[in-house]
């Protein structure tokens, strides 16, 4: 059974905006998925529906077989899927980091001993050092607050986590840190990861699978490498593949593969093409 099943999902906001217009997809256990698309394409709405934070106006979402819109399933749900908000300020409310991370487990009614173990583990995984346990989250720098928010989600041990714009406003090092950390969770601990983002180089470097939304529908869904070869289709939702991919695609006539994702891949590809060409070139030079 797939971990997340979305069937003909529709969502209409009270003001009449149709944010999702019949979305169907499945996400298997252990996938690393990126949700992309222009603002208003429905990505945040979809991710919130998946976590049961918004009640769909049509269709349904099953997480591990549980219908997320059903009453009284919240506690069941948070052990399966966690959502990290873009702005940690909306999420953090305890006066100590330790209590903050422990809030979820406490809601789940776990005994203290077990809770403590979960908190320490989640903090360690998220890179929140124990010396920060008694700090007030409000006064930590933004990067750290985000980690606390992630740790708080992890402490509930969800099988999947959805992260809304993990790299917005972060610099190179911070972005890599957050992404490497998510990647580590995915690789080592077998978590399913879903990120919502506008940063295509991040998508290219980390996500195994990419789903592009446009006006509340799935525009394209497939392996990231394949999705970025459809530049014309992506243009509908104003997404451009990363620069390396774009460059490669203008050189296809020269024998360059159109589906490279990173600079390193493109370098290797150009080396290959050049080596071939040089062989041909020497021959031609002789004629």
């Amino acid at each position: 059974m797939a971990l997340i099943e979305v069937e003909d999902l529709r969502f209409q906001y009270p003001d009449g905006t149709l944010a999702l217009d019949g979305v169907s997809l499945t996400i298997e256990r252990g996938e690393f998925v990126a949700l992309i698309g222009q603002n208003g394409s429905g990505k945040t709405t979809l991710s919130k529906c998946i976590c049961g934070l918004l009640r769909p106006t049509g269709g349904r979402v099953l997480v591990d077989g549980i219908d997320v819109a059903k009453r009284g399933v919240k506690r069941e749900l948070v052990r399966r899927i966690g959502y990290v908000f873009q702005n940690p300020d909306h999420q953090l409310f305890n006066s100590e980091v330790y209590d903050e991370i422990g809030y979820g487990p406490k809601n789940l009614g776990l005994p203290e001993r077990e809770r403590d173990a979960l908190i320490r583990e989640a903090a360690a995984v998220a890179g929140v050092h124990e010396s920060l346990f008694h700090e007030h989250p409000f006064f930590l720098p933004k990067g750290l607050r985000q980690r606390v928010a992630i740790a708080a989600t992890l402490a509930m041990r969800p099988q999947a986590i959805v992260v809304d714009e993990p790299t917005t406003g972060q610099d190179l090092r911070q972005s890599l840190e957050v992404m490497d950390f998510l990647s580590e969770l995915w690789r080592r601990q077998g978590h399913t990861i879903v990120i919502v983002t506008h940063e295509m180089p991040i998508v290219a470097a980390y996500a195994q699978r990419t789903i592009a939304l446009c006006q509340g529908r799935v525009l394209i869904d497939g392996p990231t490498r394949e999705v970025f070869t459809h530049a014309d289709l992506l243009a509908q939702t104003y997404v451009k593949p990363p620069q390396a991919t774009r460059l490669a695609q203008t050189w296809t006539a020269l024998g360059v593969r159109p589906d490279v994702l990173t600079v390193e891949e493109l370098v290797a590809e150009l080396e290959r093409v050049l080596a071939e060409r040089r062989g041909v070139g020497t021959r031609r030079a002789g004629s």
Partner: protein, 209 residues
């Protein structure tokens, strides 16, 4: 509880202006006043809509907002506390403008008493000692709400909205109905939000800065 060692020396009150510290009113105070009116509108409106009894505030967490505003932001907070009920009452439809206007003195007192009490008696807004608690409960909650209820019910009879005979009952109901949310809501906020406010630029030690 608050046993963690604090950097602030024992006995130094949060109201003390440190040597070399310059305090003058700035744009940030005006902005905070406006934002605080915004918070008051939200809390006041939601409070009234949750239990719609109209002009009588049987469960109205707004008074807590007024008291906290005065404690944290001095005169800016007192002013904010006087005016947000106008808008929240109009939005929730719980009191027409003339009735809101008549409540003004009560709105002033409900913010001012807490503000003055904490400043004069040097109580810590983080509620660290039993003395801080006493100042909060006696002046910020009980006295402020009693005077508020006294004036408020007077206004109601004045507008003919309740009978003269019902006034003592209404006064009692109002007093309890406002004190309970104030005590719960206000104490929690003082305890948990004050640490953030005290370290921010918006905190007012005197009346204006």
């Amino acid at each position: 509880m608050a046993t963690a060692p604090e950097s602030a020396a024992v006995g130094v009150s949060v109201w003390e202006v440190e040597p070399g510290e310059r305090r003058k009113p700035g744009i940030v105070h005006v902005v905070m006043m406006a934002l605080f009116i915004g918070i008051g509108i939200v809390v006041g409106t939601l409070g009234s809509l949750a239990i719609p009894i109209g002009f009588v505030s049987l469960f109205w967490p707004g008074q807590a907002v007024q008291a906290l505003g005065g404690i944290w932001f001095g005169a800016w907070g007192v002013i904010a506390g006087m005016f947000f009920p106008f808008i929240s009452n109009a939005l929730s439809g719980s009191a027409p403008i003339p009735v809101s206007a008549a409540y003004l003195p009560a709105n002033f007192l409900q913010g001012f008493l807490a503000a003055a009490g904490f400043r004069w008696l040097k109580a810590d807004p983080r509620l660290r000692t039993w003395r801080d608690w006493a100042v909060w409960v006696v002046i910020g909650v009980l006295l402020a709400n009693f005077l508020g209820a006294f004036w408020g019910t007077y206004v109601l009879t004045w507008f003919g909205l309740i009978t003269e005979a019902a006034r003592p009952t209404a006064l009692f109901g109002w007093f309890i109905g406002n004190s309970v949310p104030s005590l719960i809501f206000g104490s929690i906020l003082l305890k948990y939000v004050s640490p953030m406010i005290l370290r921010s630029k918006t905190f007012v030690k005197g009346w204006l800065a």
